[in-house]
Amino acid sequence: MIDPGRLDATEFVREFRRNYVNLFNLWTNVDRRVPDGVTLQTPTQKPIREQDLSPDLRAAASEYRERRGGVRITWTKYMRTVNGRPEEVIEDERPLPEESRLISVSRTSTLLTDQEVRVITELVVGEVEPLQRETQSPRRTRA
């Protein structure tokens, strides 16, 4: 059994945030051009609804929600890439959620022959809204 080691989730979320590029801002404000072959929409134009996601992604989100006592997740960003190139992006000018509220789920499928290769990745980013009791001030403990 080859063990690639453990993943430090907090560190990886920080890396995720460091590497984040707001594609909406990049294409509309900086490049002022959406690359050919890409569909760019905002969540207002096309809301990211969980029931529209693929079953794998829905299952992952649902399982997480159950484990966390029914927290609410608001999906804010969606991207589908084929061979690393974006085909569909749903995003607006909002940054990523803060570190402790960020959630991402993804699915990658691949097809490989000696004639072609296709790597399709769907990535959805959301914000976890903590349960009411988690947002209350910490209970006072006895000295």
Binding site: M1, I2, P4, G5, R85, L96, V119, T121
Partner: protein
């Protein structure tokens, strides 16, 4: 005043009626008060074994080095999952016996034997010719022999055959053998099983296994190694009537480590499989691990014989078969190749050679 470099011509013949072979050996510069050390390489070897073992036989893997840190490959369009590559440990800088002895003031003679992969008959005749020429060219010198592996059997056969040679008698002071199969090697009798075990490793890890173990299969299948198998006619004949040559201090060293190299693997970190909001989405990183079970490479072979069993052998020779009843016996925790460069072993041998320095005064 050190003696200068000296070229000595020698000759030998396979029989009284056959033509002679001629050659030249070089005696390096050194202290005339110290013995001239004649270096005898092992099976399938050449003079590099005793001078520059990193060149040949190689196998100078740095298996005690710490594993390298995680490496970043870069952004990719696909998830990074599983194994990136397999590799062996890197090699390390090593120094052979000849430069070590020279640095300590000893004159040395190092040469490539005839028939390194063949039987010992001709190398014995060649060595006899060389030593006769040396004792004639250096009438005041005494000689020490430092032999690795099969070189130790070459030395024994030479000493036995020349025990009554008036030109050589009394001129040899030390016979030191390093990991020599005096009692034979059982590995030679299980050559087929070794071939099968190596083939099995190759089918798992690929051709790089040949880099690490190709030499092993070459050796155990060679005629020269078959001559060294336990109970071979050559060994039986050599031991028959063999007695220590008066005035010669015999030291034998045996090794107990079959550790040659680790099998290392670069594997993708878990994070390489998780897409990020980045184009392309996968940030590939690899981390180096030692492959479980299969590494170290020789330890992963079945314990076919004591030669390749931890704490019993050095890969090619079992410690218990590396000694003579009349020798001072030393055991070290080295593999067969490490005996060509290990600094601890060098210090031991230098102490042996230097301890009797007053003999040469």
């Amino acid at each position: 005043m050190p003696e200068p470099v000296l070229d000595v011509k020698y000759s030998w013949a396979e029989s009284p009626t056959a033509g002679t072979h001629a050659g030249t050996v070089t005696v390096s510069a050194g202290d005339p008060e110290k013995p001239v050390v004649v270096l005898l390489h092992g099976n399938g070897g050449n003079s590099d074994h005793m001078a520059a073992p990193d060149r040949s036989p190689g196998e100078n893997y740095d298996f005690r080095s710490s594993l390298p840190p995680t490496r970043t490959i870069g952004w990719r369009s696909y998830p990074g999952v599983g194994v990136w590559s397999f590799e062996l440990d890197p090699t390390k800088t090593v120094r052979g016996w000849q430069p070590v002895l020279n640095q300590n003031g000893f004159r040395t003679v190092n040469y490539s034997q005839v028939d390194p992969d063949g039987l010992l008959a001709r190398p014995v005749l060649e060595l006899t010719g060389i030593v006769r020429a040396l004792v004639a060219a250096l009438p005041d010198a005494h000689f020490a022999f430092l032999a690795h592996s099969r070189g130790g059997l070459l030395l024994r056969k030479f000493l036995k055959d020349t025990a009554n040679d008036p030109a050589i008698k009394g001129r040899v002071a030390f016979a030191i053998t390093l990991h020599s199969p005096h009692g034979g090697s059982e590995l030679a009798t299980v050559a087929n099983a070794v071939n099968t075990a190596v083939a099995s490793l190759r089918s798992t890890f690929g051709s790089f296994v040949d880099t690490a173990l190709g030499w092993l299969t070459d050796i155990v299948n060679s005629p020269s190694y078959q001559e060294l198998r336990v109970g071979s006619p050559f060994l039986v004949s050599l031991a028959q009537g063999e007695a220590p040559v008066p005035g010669v201090a015999y030291h034998t060293f045996g090794g107990t480590s079959p550790l040659l190299t680790r099998i290392r693997s670069w594997v993708y970190t878990v994070s390489s499989a998780i897409p990020q909001w980045h184009l392309p989405p996968f940030h590939h990183r690899i981390t180096c691990i030692e492959v479980p079970v299969a590494s170290p490479i020789l330890n992963s072979l079945p314990n076919l014989t004591p030669e390749i069993t931890e704490a019993e052998g050095d890969i090619l020779v079992a410690d218990v078969r590396a000694h003579l009843s009349f020798s001072l016996q030393h055991t070290d925790g080295l593999n067969h190749a490490e005996a060509l460069w290990d600094s601890g072993l060098e210090a031991q041998v230098l102490r042996i050679l230097g301890a009797s320095a007053n003999v040469w005064g």
